[in-house]
C-alpha cells in the first residue's frame, strides 16, 4: 500500500540512506525510551544498597544476586498482595461477563420496553469519569443503600463497581446487533429459551468480542489504583499496586525496585500472550478514520 513516502523515492540511493538512518534512529530511540527504563528497573533490583546509590552507576550489576527479589517477596508479603489481586481481577472478570453480556443481549435481541432509555443511561455514565464521582461512590461502598452493609475490605467493593461498565455493554451490544436475526429466530421456532439461545448460539459466535472484553476488564482492575486504595485499606486485603505504594516508604531502595519488577511481570506476561486482543480492544472503541 502506498503511504506518505513514495516507493520510488525509497529506491533511490539517497532515499535508502534516509530510510535506514530513520529506522536505526527510531529503533534505538524507542529502545532507549521504553525498554531501557525497564532494564534499569530489573538490574537495579539485582544491586546491593551500596551499588544502587553509587555515582556513577554501574551499567551491569556487579553480581547476579536474586536475594533482593526474595527479600521483597517476603518483606512486602507480595504473595498475599498478588493473591488478592488475582482474586479481585478474576472475580471482576466473571462478574463483568455475567452482568454485561446478559444486559447487552437483552438490549440487543430481546428489546424490552424502555430498552433505549436504559442503554442511553448506561452510555451516559461514560461521559462522567469515575474520578469525579469518587467520594459518593466510596460512600456507597462504605454503607450500601437499602442493604446497609459495608463493602469495605471485601472483594465485592471491587467486583460490583467493575461490572457497571458502560463501555463493555456498548461493545457487546454492538457486536450482538451484528448477529443475523434469522439465526436466532430459527432457534426460537425450535422452542429454545432465551438463555439457551444466548449460551449456545450468541456466545459461541461472539468469541472475539468476549476475548477483548475479558482482557480489558482484567487489565483494568489489575492496573487500578485509586479505587482499591480507598475501599481496601486493610494491609492484608490490599491489591499489589496499593500494597507496594503504601509500604514503599519503609523499604530499602533495591527491595522496592524488586517489588516493582514482580508487580509488573503479570501484566507484561499477559501483554506477551494476548497482544493481538489487547491491540484489537484498543481500536475497538475508537472509530475508523
Amino acid at each position: 500500500m502506498r503511504t506518505l513516502v513514495s516507493p520510488l523515492s525509497l529506491r533511490t540511493p539517497s532515499g535508502r540512506i534516509i530510510y535506514w538512518t530513520t529506522l536505526v534512529v527510531v529503533v534505538i530511540g524507542f529502545t532507549g525510551a521504553f525498554v531501557f527504563p525497564l532494564y534499569w528497573m530489573v538490574t537495579g533490583a539485582l544491586k546491593s544498597p551500596d551499588e544502587i546509590a553509587q555515582i556513577p552507576p554501574s551499567f551491569f550489576p556487579k553480581h547476579f544476586d536474586l536475594g533482593v527479589y526474595k527479600d521483597a517477596w517476603e518483606q512486602l508479603q507480595l504473595g498475599i498482595f498478588l493473591k488478592n489481586t488475582v482474586l479481585y481481577a478474576g472475580g471482576a472478570w466473571l462478574f463483568t461477563l455475567a452482568v454485561d453480556v446478559t444486559a447487552a443481549y437483552a438490549l440487543s435481541k430481546l428489546r424490552p420496553f424502555f430498552g433505549k432509555l436504559i442503554l442511553g443511561a448506561m452510555l451516559a455514565t461514560l461521559m462522567i469519569p469515575p474520578m469525579v464521582l469518587l467520594l459518593p461512590t466510596y460512600l456507597v461502598a462504605k454503607d450500601l443503600p437499602i442493604f446497609h452493609a459495608s463493602l469495605l475490605n471485601t472483594p465485592w467493593a471491587i467486583w460490583l463497581p467493575a461490572a457497571a461498565n458502560g463501555f463493555f455493554v456498548f461493545l457487546l451490544k454492538r457486536f450482538f446487533d451484528s448477529i443475523p436475526r434469522e439465526l436466532l429466530e430459527a432457534a426460537e421456532i425450535d422452542g429454545a429459551s432465551p438463555l439457551r439461545i444466548l449460551s449456545s448460539i450468541v456466545l459461541p459466535v461472539s468469541r472475539p468480542i468476549l476475548g477483548v472484553v475479558s482482557i480489558l476488564s482484567v487489565v483494568t482492575v489489575w492496573k487500578d489504583f485509586v479505587w482499591p486504595l480507598l475501599v481496601l485499606p486493610e494491609t492484608d486485603k490490599m491489591s499489589i499496586s496499593v500494597g507496594i505504594a503504601s509500604l514503599s516508604a519503609q523499604m530499602p531502595q533495591n527491595v522496592l525496585i524488586a517489588s516493582l519488577v514482580i508487580a509488573s511481570l503479570p501484566t507484561i506476561l499477559v501483554f506477551f500472550v494476548f497482544q493481538r486482543s489487547i491491540m484489537a480492544g484498543l481500536t475497538a472503541g475508537s472509530l475508523k478514520g
Binding site: 502506498r2 506518505l4 530513520t22 529506522l23 527510531v26 529503533v27 524507542f30 521504553f34 527504563p37 534499569w40 544502587i52 555515582i55 556513577p56 552507576p57 452482568v99 444486559a103 437483552a106 438490549l107 430481546l110 428489546r111 424490552p112 430498552g115 436504559i118 443511561a121 448506561m122 461521559m127 462522567i128 469519569p129 474520578m131 469525579v132 464521582l133 469518587l134 467520594l135 459518593p136 461512590t137 456507597v140 450500601l144 443503600p145 463497581p161 461490572a163 457497571a164 432465551p194 492496573k223 489504583f225 485509586v226 499489589i240 499496586s241 514503599s248 522496592l256 516493582l260 508487580a263 509488573s264 501484566t267 507484561i268 489487547i278 491491540m279 484498543l282 475508537s286 475508523k288 478514520g289
Partner: protein
C-alpha cells in the same frame, strides 16, 4: 383447553366489538388470538429481558447513577454520616473557593493538561506517521511503545520517583554523562509539575500512537500520489493529506486526553503529595485531601462537582464529534 381459550379472549373481543369494527365472521376471532398471543409474547419477552438486565441495573444504579445524584446532594450538605445531613446552601463551595490551594489546584490542573497536550499529544502522532513509513521491525516497535502502558500506573510512577532521585537517580546521571548540570526534578517548584507530566506521558504514549497508526492505515494511497504529482513535498503532504484525512480521530483523541489529564491524581499522590508549596496540587488530589485528610466530604464533593461540570463540557463536544465520525 377450549374453555381457557374462550376465557382468555372474551374481554378483548368485547373491547373490539365496542370499537365497532367487527368485519367478517371469522375475522375478529383470528385477530384476537393473534393479539393475545402477541401480548403474551411481549410480556414474556419483557420479563425475560428484565431478568437478564437486573444485574446490570443494580450495579449501574448503585455505582454510577446514584453517586451522580449523591454528589450533588453532598456538595450542598454538611454531613457527619451519623445524623441526617444539614442543608448549607453554597457554604461548601465558599469554603473550597476561599482555600488558597484552590487556585493553585485549578491552575496546576490546567497547566498539567496543557503541558501534557504539548508533549503528549503531538508526539504520538509524529511517531505514528514515522512508524507507518517503516517496513522493518514494525512488530517490535509497536510492542515496545505499548509496553509502558501495560505497567500498573503505580509501578511506573514509583519507578520514575527513583529515576528522579536528585543523587543517584537515572535522570541526573544521564544529564551528568552529557556534562549538563543536575536538576532537582520533584523538589523544585519550577520542575515538579513538568516531572509529573513526563511520567504521565511516558506511560500513556503507546495508546495514542497505536490508535493513530490504525487510523493512518485507512488513508487512501492515491491521495499521496496525486499530491506528489502536484509537487507537494513531504511536510505539505502531511499537512494537506494526512492531517485532514485523520482529523476526526485527532479531534476525538484531543478531547479524550483533556478529559483524562484533568483528572490527574496518582502522580501527585505518589510523587509529591502536592508539594513543593502546592506546586503540584491538582483538583482531583485536593478533592481526595478534603475527604480523606480533612474529613470534609461536603467540600470534597463540591470540588468533584466543579470538576465534573468542567469535564462534561469536553465530554459533550466529544460525543458530538464521535457521532459525526460514526456517520
Amino acid at each position: 383447553m377450549a374453555a381457557t381459550r374462550t376465557l382468555a379472549r372474551r374481554p378483548r373481543s368485547a373491547g373490539s366489538a365496542g370499537g365497532g369494527g367487527a368485519g367478517t365472521r371469522g375475522g375478529p376471532v383470528e385477530e384476537d388470538r393473534d393479539q393475545t398471543g402477541a401480548l403474551r409474547r411481549a410480556v414474556g419477552r419483557n420479563l425475560t429481558a428484565y431478568g437478564f438486565l437486573c444485574g446490570a441495573l443494580i450495579c449501574f444504579a448503585l455505582f454510577s447513577w446514584y453517586p451522580m445524584i449523591r454528589e450533588v446532594i453532598l456538595s450542598f450538605q454538611q454531613n457527619n454520616f451519623v445524623d441526617p445531613g444539614q442543608w448549607v446552601g453554597f457554604d461548601n463551595f465558599r469554603t473550597v473557593v476561599e482555600d488558597p490551594a484552590f487556585r493553585s489546584a485549578w491552575l496546576n490542573t490546567a497547566a498539567f493538561s496543557c503541558l501534557a497536550l504539548v508533549i503528549g499529544y503531538a508526539v504520538p502522532f509524529v511517531l505514528a506517521v514515522v512508524l507507518n513509513e517503516l517496513r522493518h521491525a514494525k512488530a517490535y516497535l509497536r510492542f515496545v511503545v505499548y509496553l509502558p502502558v501495560m505497567l500498573p500506573p503505580a509501578v511506573a510512577v514509583l519507578l520514575f520517583k527513583w529515576f528522579y532521585d536528585p543523587g543517584a537517580g537515572l535522570f541526573n546521571q544521564v544529564l551528568d554523562a552529557f556534562h549538563l548540570p543536575p536538576l532537582s526534578w520533584l523538589d523544585s517548584t519550577s520542575t515538579a509539575l513538568v516531572s509529573l507530566v513526563l511520567v504521565s506521558t511516558w506511560m500513556n504514549l503507546g495508546t495514542g500512537t497505536l490508535i493513530y497508526l490504525a487510523a493512518l492505515q485507512s488513508v487512501p494511497g492515491d491521495l499521496y500520489e496525486s499530491a506528489e504529482l502536484d509537487g507537494a513535498g513531504l511536510f505539505r503532504r502531511v499537512w494537506h493529506v494526512t492531517i485532514p484525512q485523520t482529523k476526526l480521530i485527532l479531534l476525538v483523541m484531543l478531547l479524550l486526553q483533556i478529559v483524562a489529564t484533568m483528572q490527574v491524581f496518582i502522580e501527585p499522590y505518589l510523587l509529591t503529595g502536592g508539594g513543593p508549596e502546592n506546586a503540584t496540587v491538582t483538583v482531583a488530589y485536593l478533592m481526595y485531601q478534603y475527604a480523606f485528610n480533612f474529613g470534609d466530604f461536603g467540600g470534597g464533593s463540591a470540588l468533584g462537582l466543579m470538576l465534573m461540570i468542567a469535564l462534561l463540557v469536553f465530554s459533550t463536544v466529544y460525543l458530538r464529534v464521535s457521532r459525526e465520525a460514526e456517520q
